[in-house]
């Protein structure tokens, strides 16, 4: 389901479409089987810099092309399409499977679970290919996990850029973090409008 970027970019500004990288919670991004811990954060950048391969990139360990990337967002997003730029010499990933809204997935989980969607990738060194999603399944995504099980025959897998096209909803699908239970109600928390001006008074009941 790849679609070719068949117009020149001078007419409109493509980069605004690929701006979901701003909504990624970079501090919590993690990857499994990466050679250099933390290098996964370097693949999320602006559209204009997608071909800039001089900096860091994501590389898997020697002799093992599998990669698993966990990406949480700061708010719920709708993802329309995904773009991946790999590297030459067979190091580009050949397949991509994604899981949404689940954290703590590791390789055994990824192999046994049914992916939300799967794609066969092609070598996309110029970054002109994007892979469309089944939009209905990607309506409120708070985190996405990308699993790249294989590559085109290289010893390692290399990824220079991962881009998401879509829109952010400004909503947060949040887990209730702290709950405080009271054993007895605290009157000062429950002032009625009349009492707000006057302090709580005991009624002598006469």
């Amino acid at each position: 389901m790849a679609c070719l970027h068949d117009h020149s970019c001078e007419d409109h500004d493509c980069s605004s479409n690929w701006s979901l990288y701003k909504h990624i919670d970079l501090s919590k991004v993690s990857a499994l089987n990466e050679a250099v811990r933390g290098s996964v954060k370097s693949v999320f950048k602006a559209w204009e810099q997608r071909l800039d391969s001089s900096g860091e990139h994501l590389e898997s360990n020697e002799g093992d092309p599998e990669l698993l990337v966990y990406i949480p967002f700061t708010s719920d997003v709708k993802i329309k399409s995904i773009s991946i730029i790999g590297d030459a010499d067979g190091t580009s990933p050949s397949k991509m499977r994604v899981f949404t809204n689940r954290d703590g997935i590791d390789f055994s989980d990824a192999h046994s679970m049914q992916a939300v969607q799967e794609w066969d990738l092609v070598e996309n060194l110029q970054g002109v290919l994007e892979y469309q999603t089944r939009y209905a399944k990607f309506q409120s995504v708070s985190s996405i996990t990308l699993h790249f099980p294989d590559n085109f025959g290289g010893d390692t897998s290399r990824i220079h850029y991962i881009g998401f096209k879509g829109e952010a909803t400004q909503l947060k699908r949040d887990v209730v973090a702290t709950i405080v239970y009271e054993l007895r109600p605290n009157p000062s928390d429950h002032k009625t409008r009349a009492e707000q001006d006057r302090p709580f008074q005991m009624w002598n009941g006469e």
Partner: protein
């Protein structure tokens, strides 16, 4: 302060009955486990630790990763020795236990105590190591106990397969006089990456002056610092008194009080402070201000209170004199009383020992009467 979930794999095989670590290998291992659990939970309150045994009837998880130290210590009591250690299965079960940890933000770590021979070959261990590395699980190996020819080599191969950026370590502990846990204190197993220790390390190797982190225990650090300064001040005062003794011996004839002062010099008290409490001498004031009041040696207290008053002025004069002239080290050494007092304060040296006395005599060429006077002094306790 890294947030971590740890699984400790204990070896409870028959080899653990051996007594080459006191009292037996198993007990030494249990102490080490307690130490590690304490250190992990102390460095970050959200750290969790779990325990499993590798031998016996099979790999058995005693506790899943928990913050409750009491639960961990309790389950260590019921462990029985027997069977053979199954390291590969142990590590894999540990990995599974870590995978199902409650807080997914925690880093995963496995600590393996390898006390008996490893029956798996290198290739199997390397594959296991690679799986651990792929799932970003760190591994610490404590190699102790049975010294098999190929065991270190296998364990090193496992470590190099797992190691990612020096987050995994191996420690070899041969049997010796030190307890297993004491040796572990200074290793990266307890210190984590970078060697920063949050424990007040008893075996040294810490960055703080007195072995106590001022952040962890400010009162203890303060107390240690104060007592160190007190001791220094006392020794300065003692040296000053000895200098003034030699000055006074030539000028003022009070042999009895001199010998009494000599005894005083050895004992740990601040008689100088009470004798010259009213002294406005600035140097004395500084040293005395560091000494806490009420810190007295009662035995000497009784003896010298009678002479306290009339010695005050003499002290003042003598101190000023001693301060004025450059301290002549040879003169100080010639002073029999000073040298014997210094010797008495050394542990293991008895000034009444005849060989020590002969040495003194040869050094100073003192008269016999002086030596007899020293013998009459109460033998000073070695401090």
């Amino acid at each position: 302060m890294v947030l971590e979930a740890t699984m400790i794999c204990i070896d409870n095989s028959e080899w653990m009955r051996n007594g080459d670590y006191s009292p037996c290998r198993f007990q030494a291992q249990a102490d080490a486990v307690n130490l590690i659990c304490g250190a992990k939970t102390q460095s970050n309150p959200e750290n969790t630790v779990g325990i499993l045994t590798m031998a016996g009837r099979g790999v058995r998880v005693l506790t899943t990763p928990t913050t409750d130290l009491g639960k961990i210590l309790a389950c260590m009591h019921d462990v029985e020795m027997g069977g053979e250690m199954n390291m590969a299965a142990g590590i894999q079960v540990a990995q599974l236990a870590l995978k199902h940890r409650q807080n997914k933000n925690q880093q995963q770590r496995i600590i393996v105590f390898a006390g008996s021979p490893v029956k798996y070959d290198k290739r199997v261990l390397e594959v296991i190591g690679k799986t651990l590395k792929k799932n970003s699980v760190a591994l610490d190996i404590v190699n102790f106990g049975e010294e098999d020819g190929r065991k270190p080599e296998k364990l090193e191969a496992l470590l190099s397969a797992v190691n990612n950026n020096d987050s995994s370590h191996i420690v070899h502990i041969p049997p010796g006089p030190n307890a297993l846990s004491d040796v572990l204190i200074s290793t990266p197993v307890l210190n984590g990456e970078g060697g920063g220790s949050d424990l007040p390390a008893a075996a040294g190797g810490n960055d703080f002056d007195f072995g106590v982190d001022p952040n962890l225990d400010p009162e203890l650090a303060l107390a240690l610092r104060v007592s160190m300064e007190e001791e220094r001040a006392r020794q300065e005062a003692a040296a000053k008194r000895a200098a003034e003794e030699s000055a006074r011996q030539e000028k003022v004839e009070e042999p009895s009080s001199n010998s009494q002062d000599a005894t005083m010099v050895d004992s740990a008290d601040d008689r100088a402070s009470e004798a010259s409490g009213n002294n406005t001498d600035p140097v004395q004031a500084i040293t005395l201000s560091m000494q806490t009041p009420g810190h007295n040696d009662p035995s000497v207290h009784d003896v010298d209170m009678s002479e306290a008053t009339h010695e005050e002025e003499e002290l003042a004069i003598a101190l000023q004199m001693s301060m004025k002239d450059e301290s002549d080290m040879s003169k100080v050494l010639e002073d029999q009383s000073f040298v014997s007092s210094v010797l008495a304060s050394l542990p293991g040296v008895d000034p009444n020992d005849p060989s020590v006395k002969d040495l003194l005599a040869s050094l100073q060429g003192q008269s016999e009467s002086e030596q007899k006077k020293k013998e009459d002094e109460p033998p000073n306790d070695e401090k």
